[in-house]
Amino acid sequence: SQKIEQNSEALNIQEGKTATLTCNYTNYSPAYLQWYRQDPGRGPVFLLLIRENEKEKRKERLKVTFDTTLKQSLFHITASQPADSATYLCARHGSGNTGKLIFGQGTTLQVKP
């Protein structure tokens, strides 16, 4: 079965540094990977979708890469701010074309001032 694995340990960094979060997947490469942000007690918020053939995608201070050889996606936040502190979830689709997502457990990022 397809799996998504994220580092369950929290990531603590200093304000202004670049945060890098890792998402690894098993079995066949998905055509798309998605990243979400979740704040405590709230629903996840969609951030970015990257296609298999895009390799890299940017949105403001966010950058996502997709490496099908390593079966890995990296999520970068440049010039991090305390407001970036949250849990970040990676997701892939399961089989079929119904849009059903399989989520990783998320990595909690703490940006310290």
Binding site: R42, R51, H93, G99, Q105
Partner: protein
Amino acid sequence: DVKVTQSSRYLVKRTGEKVFLECVQDMDHENMFWYRQDPGLGLRLIYFSYDVKMKEKGDIPEGYSVSREKKERFSLILESASTNQTSMYLCASSLLGVDYGYTFGSGTRLTVV
């Protein structure tokens, strides 16, 4: 501002009660989903629907049922609530297909006593 609205933020129910969780979206999305989220287990899919009156089991459907009588509304039903169904329940919607992100509701924190 497009949104997914869940009827309750917090709910306390007794063991054995029948519980209804309501979700409404205003984006004309075909897909709707119910997930539960528990510490250490991440987001797990309960049921999803890709059309009115259509439903598909997710990974953990036992003890739950769903109803989708109208495109904008997707209800999750706990037939006889049990304490192991205490959880955060998240509803989401998306356009049909694999290259669209989900829009999540704010979640319902259900406690079964």
